[in-house]
């Protein structure tokens, strides 16, 4: 089989505060034989500036695409926001000649040009399509049954459906299938496609917290032991902000939120320490200790932290 090689686009949020996602993703991708090449140079994907100046967003994204074109590599992103933006701009510039001309007009001034020779993929696309479920299955050493989890795929990796053109934006199955490969059961719950609200948290923090509370309520109702995400923004809302949500609404959730590669990594036999479980805000120890007999992971010790004192 041909070696899988990608240019890894980390974005801004992951190096800023969610490195557990990066650590675990690099671990599982290495195990699957994927080679990651670092960006030679970097600027933000452009997503945060789309509301400010659309042309600036296009140009920032296109510049990153040019860097990938020069390396002759497809891009892999871990962040839904980066994927949404880079993929959208890549497709739009490939299809719309006039737009390409305009953006290339800006890029010419810094000595580069968008050609349209690469593809942008999210981690879950690489896992499900390029690597494939069969290959992933081969690497599973400690199936996670009887663990029962819920998944939140996020918005920008499936919507707008026409632009992303991948999976069903109403009922996406890709992350569910990826969860089930690990041996864990993936539970259905109410309103799975509800947005986390992260993009507006700088303008209004009440609405995202209400959205997140509702999501956590729905997940709790079906008895999920953990929530699985594939985006640092979604993760930040459900994990980092969970104590705040509990305080605000005087409700107790205590639902651990794992990055998908952390879940996959456990099934591959990595220890929670190797997968940076300690960096999670909501204690994830209990998913090992609460699991019924037969679930082998409780053998691995995870330092437990008190988050319930709020």
């Amino acid at each position: 089989m041909q070696e899988l090689k990608y240019l890894i686009f980390l974005g801004c949020v992951i190096p800023y505060r969610i490195s557990s996602y990066e650590i675990s993703a690099r671990k599982v991708l290495e195990k699957l034989g994927v080679k990651l090449v670092e960006m030679p140079e970097f600027n933000c994907c452009g997503f945060p500036l789309d509301p400010v100046n659309h042309d600036m967003m296009l140009t920032l994204a296109a510049r990153n695409l040019c860097l990938a074109e020069q390396q002759k590599l497809d891009i892999i992103t871990l962040c839904n926001g980066c994927f949404g933006t880079l993929n959208h701009v890549n497709r739009e510039l490939k299809e719309d000649k006039k737009l390409k001309e305009r953006v290339n007009g800006y890029l010419e001034e810094i000595g580069t040009e968008f050609k349209g020779t690469i593809t942008v993929k999210h981690l879950i696309h690489v896992l499900a399509q390029d690597i494939g479920f069969d290959k992933i299955k081969e690497t599973i050493q400690k199936p996670l049954n009887p663990l029962r989890v819920a998944q939140h795929i996020g918005c920008h990796v499936v919507r707008p459906g026409k632009t992303v053109g991948f999976d069903d934006p109403e009922h996406p199955t890709i992350l569910k299938n990826l969860v089930e490969v690990t041996g864990a059961e993936c539970l259905n719950y109410t309103d799975e496609m509800e947005c986390c609200g992260a993009p507006i948290i700088g303008v209004n923090d009440k609405i995202p917290l209400q959205l997140a509370r509702e999501k956590l309520d729905h997940i709790k109702a079906v008895g999920a032991q953990a929530l699985i995400t594939v985006c640092p923004f979604c993760h930040m809302i459900y994990d980092l902000n969970q104590p705040r949500i509990e305080r605000t609404f005087n409700e107790k959730f205590g639902i651990p939120v794992l990055h998908y590669p952390q879940l996959l990594g456990l099934a591959m036999g990595f220890s929670p320490d190797e997968l940076a479980f300690k960096q999670l805000r909501v204690d994830a120890t209990k998913i090992f200790t609460n699991a019924r007999a037969g679930f082998m992971l409780h053998e691995t010790h995870v330092e437990s932290r008190v988050i319930n004192s709020l």
């Binding site: 945060p48 509301p51 100046n53 810094i110 918005c155 919507r159 507006i200």
Partner: protein, 183 residues
């Protein structure tokens, strides 16, 4: 009693009656020229966007259908001075569900772009823009975090070409906007 009713009626009138003098009939065309907003005239006000909008469920003010109608009516001044346009979380549910293929979230983005050119911008976007201009990253990554990457065995972060970034900020007109808004 009758006085109360009088006050009530006056308030209702204030809310319901639009003055022709407040409307700019050309505004919808101005918006439809912006990328992503070309479909504004196709909206027939079915309300699917508002019904399916997660933000509208929790906000008393954010109603995508209403925003589109206000553009069609040409209520430019009300729209550009209204904080409500900053509440869209860009989940794109409205775009996927619209039976007329109206790019609702993109139209809201066009409104935001226009507001920034003609009026103000929320502080958070000023910060994000200035961070990107200074470092290439949307957030100022603390030095401690960079050191921690070494300890965690992660490769060092790629750097931005700041000279080129400044050029792009200038070319797209963003530098000028930021300067005008005192950032």
């Amino acid at each position: 009693m009758s006085k109360n009713r009088e006050i009530q009626e006056k308030e209702t009138e204030k809310r319901m009656v639009l003055k022709m003098s407040d409307m700019d009939p050309k505004f919808k065309y101005e918006i439809s020229k912006l990328p992503g907003a070309e479909t504004i005239l196709l909206c027939f006000q079915c309300g699917t966007c508002t019904a399916d909008c997660p933000i509208a469920r929790f906000s008393d003010f954010y109603r995508p259908r209403k925003l589109i109608r206000m553009i069609q009516l040409g209520l430019k001044d009300t729209l550009l001075s209204n904080d409500v346009i900053w509440l869209c979380s860009t989940c794109f549910t409205c775009i996927d569900h619209c039976p007329q293929d109206v790019g609702i979230a993109n139209i809201v983005r066009a409104l935001r772009n226009l507001t920034i050119i003609e009026r103000e911008m929320p502080v958070v976007y000023k910060e994000l823009a200035s961070n990107i201009l200074k470092t290439g990253y949307a957030y100022m990554i603390p030095r401690l975090r960079l050191k921690k990457r070494d300890e965690e065995g992660l490769p060092s972060l790629p750097k931005a070409d700041l000279e080129n970034l400044v050029k792009l900020f200038d070319l797209t007109g963003l530098s000028k906007t930021l300067e005008r808004l005192g950032t």
